[in-house]
Point group: D4
Chain length 145, copies 8
Amino acid sequence: MSLNVYLSGEIHTDWRQRIIEGCRDIDLTFSSAVTNHEASDAAGDLLGDEEKSFWRDHKSAKVNAIRISTLIEKCDIAIIRFGDKYKQWNAAFDAGYCAAKGKPYITLHSEDIIHPLKEVDAAAHAWATTPEQVVELLRYMVSDQ
Amino acid sequence: MSLNVYLSGEIHTDWRQRIIEGCRDIDLTFSSAVTNHEASDAAGDLLGDEEKSFWRDHKSAKVNAIRISTLIEKCDIAIIRFGDKYKQWNAAFDAGYCAAKGKPYITLHSEDIIHPLKEVDAAAHAWATTPEQVVELLRYMVSDQ
Amino acid sequence: MSLNVYLSGEIHTDWRQRIIEGCRDIDLTFSSAVTNHEASDAAGDLLGDEEKSFWRDHKSAKVNAIRISTLIEKCDIAIIRFGDKYKQWNAAFDAGYCAAKGKPYITLHSEDIIHPLKEVDAAAHAWATTPEQVVELLRYMVSDQ
Amino acid sequence: MSLNVYLSGEIHTDWRQRIIEGCRDIDLTFSSAVTNHEASDAAGDLLGDEEKSFWRDHKSAKVNAIRISTLIEKCDIAIIRFGDKYKQWNAAFDAGYCAAKGKPYITLHSEDIIHPLKEVDAAAHAWATTPEQVVELLRYMVSDQ
Amino acid sequence: MSLNVYLSGEIHTDWRQRIIEGCRDIDLTFSSAVTNHEASDAAGDLLGDEEKSFWRDHKSAKVNAIRISTLIEKCDIAIIRFGDKYKQWNAAFDAGYCAAKGKPYITLHSEDIIHPLKEVDAAAHAWATTPEQVVELLRYMVSDQ
Amino acid sequence: MSLNVYLSGEIHTDWRQRIIEGCRDIDLTFSSAVTNHEASDAAGDLLGDEEKSFWRDHKSAKVNAIRISTLIEKCDIAIIRFGDKYKQWNAAFDAGYCAAKGKPYITLHSEDIIHPLKEVDAAAHAWATTPEQVVELLRYMVSDQ
Amino acid sequence: MSLNVYLSGEIHTDWRQRIIEGCRDIDLTFSSAVTNHEASDAAGDLLGDEEKSFWRDHKSAKVNAIRISTLIEKCDIAIIRFGDKYKQWNAAFDAGYCAAKGKPYITLHSEDIIHPLKEVDAAAHAWATTPEQVVELLRYMVSDQ
Amino acid sequence: MSLNVYLSGEIHTDWRQRIIEGCRDIDLTFSSAVTNHEASDAAGDLLGDEEKSFWRDHKSAKVNAIRISTLIEKCDIAIIRFGDKYKQWNAAFDAGYCAAKGKPYITLHSEDIIHPLKEVDAAAHAWATTPEQVVELLRYMVSDQ
């Protein structure tokens, strides 16, 4: 049994690496949006300059959306990470998108943001607080038991 | 021509009332999640006490989700409002849910949160900064021109 | 706001009546499979006698399935009741059907069957132990708050 | 021609082994939920202790549901087994889920539970009483005739 | 409870009238393709003459298909009638269309064509031999039991 | 029998009026995008000025798209009109959208553009050259024959 | 470019072999129902004897339906063949099924049954009269032009 | 990460070659309709002569549609090119088809046709003016950042 796992959300800590590393010996394929912050913000720049920041953001976000929606469509499960900084509305957006598409997802966040994330957690299949728990869940999911 | 409009997001300002009021004379039906904050947080309490806040939140969020997903399923268009306080991850979740279901939505937020909302705006059909603009868009949409 | 509510499961106690009665003054439409046990078992008899009980059951179950699948398709929410007798596999079947169709459902059962119902409860939006709790949840769902 | 076959239900007899063994020389892929009873019940324990058995069960069932719904989504056909012990509501839930998703399934159960399983059998493509019959059906399905 | 019933197939006997008549006092809506044979064959003639009979048939069949697919989409159940004359491939086509769309249907035909109709009957929810049986099934389906 | 008819395409001749007029006495509901050219081009202007014509067009087109996609979703049949001027790519876009959604459509255009419209006509259910033919087709479709 | 081609219908002439042979050197995968008439009719016999021919046919047809619906689901295009004998309602059923699922199909039949097949041809992408034409169409479809 | 890219539209310039060439070293699969103009127009000729040009075009367009709809169904992203000649309604049709199917697409056209393409661009994820920009977008999309 093999699974495609989409990793959504926070790009400023090493949670992606820790999950991928912990699953190195099992049959999983991981994918993500472009996680290089500057490259991501500039994704649409090659299509021409914009004076208004709204349109610059708009073009880049839409270019990134092609990749993101394609990867969510192909994944079997998503891990959606909320860190302790920034708005992270894109992570919540991905969660809603997964819920509507019937893609199961696991949230990964600390205990202090339980209340504002209650709607996102309500549609999740599990809530983890460490990448190591996610690793253990993924290992369980593809085990031969 | 008649439209069902779902109003999602911020519950601490009067944006819902201003939109509903502005559309009083045209053929629109508006709906929302329960917007009484305390009632919403307590939606699952009647099903038994919980010691852990996670489970209290979980039960209430799931009860609310029945209403929310039903209303989004029935709506023709959603208005998704981000205010200047709180995390508002549920609004971003609703936006992602609408996007995946092919329900068009209009975002309503001020200019200073353009950047963190770029993914949410990228999938929107319009971005408005005042309820009055939303009123004008809705009036246009059902006009006889 | 109006809701179509499908009532699935146990036919030997008065839970349906108690829910319908408790919601008499609000805008809900209730539906059920044929709950007259003998009529239900004989639903296919008019199409000819069968020597094997398998085929008699088969014909009746398929006739009933037309009604059931149509009503689940039309409902906004299902209440799925497990009593303390009989196998009630049809109720679990309806729950799986609702889950796959994205129809939210509330389970109604006592505490002593939590463990065998864990997969059914895992996909539910709420678990209630009394019809009165269901009434309260439904009233909340269509309230004007 | 190759087929993905999902094996759902009873975990206390050797029906899975007998089917897999009987199909060893043909092009089928078999999958199952985790069938180690204790591992399955404990699937969510790593996410933290729960005092209430409902939540312990809930967390584990949801973790297992990720695997189950993914495998049903990927399968071409399901075999759904009802033994002579336990409630086995999860097997009936899987049957309803398959029916709603348009996934064909074969039930495998003895003659004495025909009546309570009539709704589950009504949506099945075949009813078998022994694993060897299932083997023969699967061999027929991928044959070159 | 109300149902939309689509009547497909044979146009040379009075089975439609007998069903509609028998259900006069209950809440059902019946629909059909245009059953006037000559009008149906000429449905596309107003769009211009054709020398080849293939294209004349093609244009008419496509005009009729608009009505038929719309009505099947709107129906809750279809009755599919095979008489003892003609090829009636359109009735079998409608049956396959219903099966793929998840619309339940009842076949109505005599015993002597069981074998050639076995695939059509296999996907049906019931097989009746007289319009009166269909009436009884429909009355059962919307009954208050 | 009633039908919702969506009228797409050319806005510079009176084809819409002639169809609506010709169907005045039968049970059809007609809808269209906003057909006032200037109002349509300015649909997004209230959301703020744009220096680049691309963004002005973009905002207006997206506002109009809310109405258009909602109406196509609700229609039973579309009439798609190509006149003898302008690019009319939006009409071809609507045709492709209808085809993918399984909405039947009739094209309305003169004989001299058969070749460039062959892909659009290939997915249509009929090709008419005058509004009066469309009227006759619609009258046929809802007739009681 | 590779295609999965499902071959449906007549089993008494060599049309399948002629198509497969003609495409031997290109990248196509062909599939069919079990075309051994006796094996097909007996597909359900191993599940127990039936006195009534209806149930014997029913069981076999449902076993065959698992294979057929799976193959249609996996195919990119179907070829649907009507010969000059037998009722061949299963071929028309497959055509309707394909139409509803959005699977393109080509019909293969002689000129003398154009009229009774008009509804089946109306939803087809092409009508061929010889297997060699089908071969040519398939070769064209995967060509590098 | 690998992507299937469908190239739709103009066949008279070398834009396809430039994109394919520019992506030679990355993991993309490209597909197109048959782009040999004469072969495409003659796709249905082998099925018999037609006196009316409408039917010749019709047969060829439907044969081509099998390939096109199959390729769009399989693609992850489409590039839709509008040149400066011809009507190109088929390209706009493909865009509408992609939009309805939720397939992201990038338009490729010069600045002088912004206005007539506004509805097509409104549903696109990006607008490029040169094949080299498309190459850069595709390279970004599958990058390892």
